[in-house]
Symmetry: C2
């Protein structure tokens, strides 16, 4: 774990807990589970923690509490975040890929093939070359295919015509996400923020969508 | 349950299963759990089902399989959908409100008060009067407050400045949602579609957002 702001005065466990809002027993649990690296030993019984520990703790909390990600998976996400052997784009991608993406597409279902053709046509229309190149390897792509396949199977409308407005909004969300991420120090701090904000903004976004539906419904039918 | 397309030739259980892609034992389970109304008896041992049953079955499947909503809650959503004593806007609202909205805000946490002020300022800026009037009673509003409070608590940026681009995208999503919903027959059919599409588009939207992030990351850092 690197310390981008240089070495600051260390924190004791109580301060780490207070500044993160994570209860002390939970912090101890994350330390035992190696979701947090050990503190710097200052005596036989005491350790100190730094800003890097605080940032990591916030990320882990976001993953487990909001993302409801199992501890073992959170450990994999944290490992991807800490991997320094990649360029910034690949590192960001690897960390976000490590976040769980929900149901996998059912390969035995003909609806999955239809969904894959729809997703490919959509990416083509959007000119999202990255998505197209990476294709089936990308968990986000599989998440989209699985979601479309469910709608195909149940007979709900989800051709490119229906999906395009959602994809255009998603493109704007991607810009907003990266604008936030770029406010962080490049390197580990930025990757941690990218993962945390991906997870933390999900319930906010879904809640705002339901509020927007109510607002739009009132406008049309109210 | 109403039959908007008039009485068509009834379906047997096997056809209901085939047209919905839901396995026969699962359909029987939904019938036992009163998530589906009973079929029309045609003999001592046989019953027939209609288009209304098929639509309801698709909705229930969306709620339980994609929304991961418990059976008891799905039963409440279905009851809200079937409630004919409301105007279209109120009926749509009641049905979407009955869908679970995730974590409730923690009222003992000062971060919740900060989050509520942020959410109110955001709705004010957007001119979402419906959201503002309904306020604390709306589960979507509480979902947004809870999500913002988590970010406040963990020290991630989430003032109105950060949230506004997300809310503007949500507004577009609300329009896309209602455009889809208006393609259905007003009444029960429309309400069923609104609930199903709210749930079914969530994983697609979150997947598209992650693809858009990758695309935007490649553009900036790739």
């Amino acid at each position: 774990m690197t310390l981008s702001n240089g070495r600051r005065k260390g924190m004791r466990l109580a301060e780490l807990s207070e500044r993160s809002g994570v209860p002390i027993p939970t912090v101890k649990y994350y330390l035992r589970e190696r979701l947090l690296p050990p503190g710097h030993r200052i005596s036989a019984t005491q350790a100190e923690y730094d800003e890097g520990h605080l940032r990591r703790l916030r990320l882990v909390r976001a993953l487990i509490q909001v993302g409801r990600i199992p501890v073992a998976t959170a450990r994999e996400v944290v490992a991807a975040v800490a991997d320094e052997g990649l360029d910034p784009h690949a590192r960001l991608g690897a960390a976000v890929w490590a976040i769980p993406h929900g149901a996998e597409p059912d390969e035995d279902d003909p609806a999955t093939e239809t969904a894959r053709r729809t997703a490919d046509a959509l990416l083509e229309q959007l000119g999202w070359t990255f998505g197209r190149e990476v294709g089936a390897q990308s968990p986000a792509y599989r998440m989209v295919v699985s979601g479309i396949a469910t709608m195909v199977r149940l007979g709900y409308p989800c051709g490119t015509g229906q999906l395009l407005p959602y994809a255009r909004s998603a493109a704007e969300l991607g810009v907003a996400d990266l604008d936030l991420v770029e406010q962080y120090e490049p390197g580990e701090e930025q990757v941690e923020a990218a993962v945390a904000l991906t997870v933390l903004y999900e319930p906010v976004l879904l809640g705002l969508r339901r509020l927007a539906q109510a607002e739009e419904s009132r406008r049309r039918f109210g």
